[in-house]
Amino acid sequence: MKPPPFRYHDPRTVDEAIGLLSTLDNAKVLAGGQSLMPMLNMRYVLPDDVIDINKIAALCYIRETDGVIEFGAMTRQRDIEFSDVVKARFPIIHEAILNVGHRQTRNRGTIGGSLCHLDPSAELVTMAAAHDAVVTVAGPNGTREIPFAQFPVTFMTTAIEANELVTGVRFPRWPAGHGYGFVEFARRHGDFAIASAAALLETDSNGKITRASVTLGGVSVTPVRVRAVEQALIGQKGSEDFFREVCEECRKVAAIDDVHAPANYRQHLATVMSRRALVAALGRVGKA
């Protein structure tokens, strides 16, 4: 339960960090440390070098411009939780982040670290999928942008290269008056969700749904958008019974089967969580 020996680096700039990543063979980037540190303590990871990016001040920011919010990779989950802009314009992110671990872990944990760790039940990863976020990645040849749909490759594996570093992530804003709902099922508050669902809705003046985003967390190896549900909602008026019927599609999602829950239980929870998220979202349409 003690980290193995490693060399420690604490670069002050992104360029310095990229330089280290490009020359070191078996290096791990240390962001907030709320996942990597347990893995080091348990020796699930055995890096030769640890690159601590906590001193790169340029990666800590929350900026809002033209309906898009951008978080620097090292922005603490705490700062997102207490951001007035997030609370007012991205209320679903505020709702979701209250389920990320505990106060003690949110004080340290970062959004970039969460995205790169890519835990299947991570709330911030689910948020990125729900919003079609765009991840900015820096490498030896400059920066590139990865739409979130292409960011997860598979279980806890991202599309970033070994010599690249996530520097920020942009979330496009849903218009004022959109409905939102995030719900999750975990054994205890702050535990990893066995299943979670995020719903975003827009309706026209007749109450018909014009745009929908429905995302499941914890169910599959990565958070997934349930396109079949989203499409079935368009042009319809929402109701709990209608959502119940539509959310049956979630039973078809390929689910994780592990010690915490069998696949069919996760699929069942997916139908319930997505319905509850949609009911919450519908109830909030036009309210903000």
């Binding site: 003690k2 020996p5 490693f6 440390g33 872990t105 340290r108």
Partner: protein, 164 residues
């Protein structure tokens, strides 16, 4: 011997300058190198909350930080909560009076967590207290005494503030 670094850190108001192995966690550094064994280590992977400290005023798990990361920062541990050797903090008094501890293993983490919580939420509801300590495991009390102590401490702190 693996790589070491020299760090300067202020813990409970006292400045320490120490050579530390870079792979050491902050918790092990405080307990083994400085002898500050008030901070307890239960799970060593960020689940039990016993090792919670205040890092620049914010709660953090000291098993999930490296000692080198504390260089230039200020830390408060359970040893630094009481105003003096003769006098306990109102939060500690509330724990004593409400059976907020039995074996005492989780207490350092409970106290540091609640110190931050009551600073940010001086008038909490029972539900808010339960969420605040959801990252701290206690196997003795069934949490009832701890929740009662936290609510009592909020009243004591408020009374102390109004009196001053």
């Amino acid at each position: 011997m693996s790589e070491t670094r020299k760090i300067a850190v202020t813990i409970n108001g006292k400045r320490y300058e120490e050579e530390v192995e870079v792979r050491w966690t902050l918790a092990d550094f405080m307990r083994q190198q400085l002898g500050l064994t008030g901070t307890h280590l239960g799970c060593e992977h960020g689940v039990c909350g016993a090792c919670t400290i205040l890092f620049d005023g914010y709660s953090a798990r000291s098993c999930l930080m490296l000692a080198v990361q504390a260089d230039g920062h200020e830390i408060l541990t359970v040893e630094g909560i009481a105003p003096s050797e003769e006098q306990m903090h109102p939060l500690q008094e509330a724990f004593r009076d409400n059976h907020g501890l039995q074996c005492g293993f989780c207490t350092p983490g409970m106290l540091t967590t609640l110190l931050e919580f009551l600073r940010d939420n001086p008038d909490p509801t029972e539900q808010e207290v339960r969420i605040a300590i959801s990252g701290n495991l206690c196997r003795c009390t069934g949490y009832q005494g701890i929740v009662a102590a936290a609510l009592d401490a909020a009243q004591r702190l408020k009374a102390a503030k109004e009196a001053s």
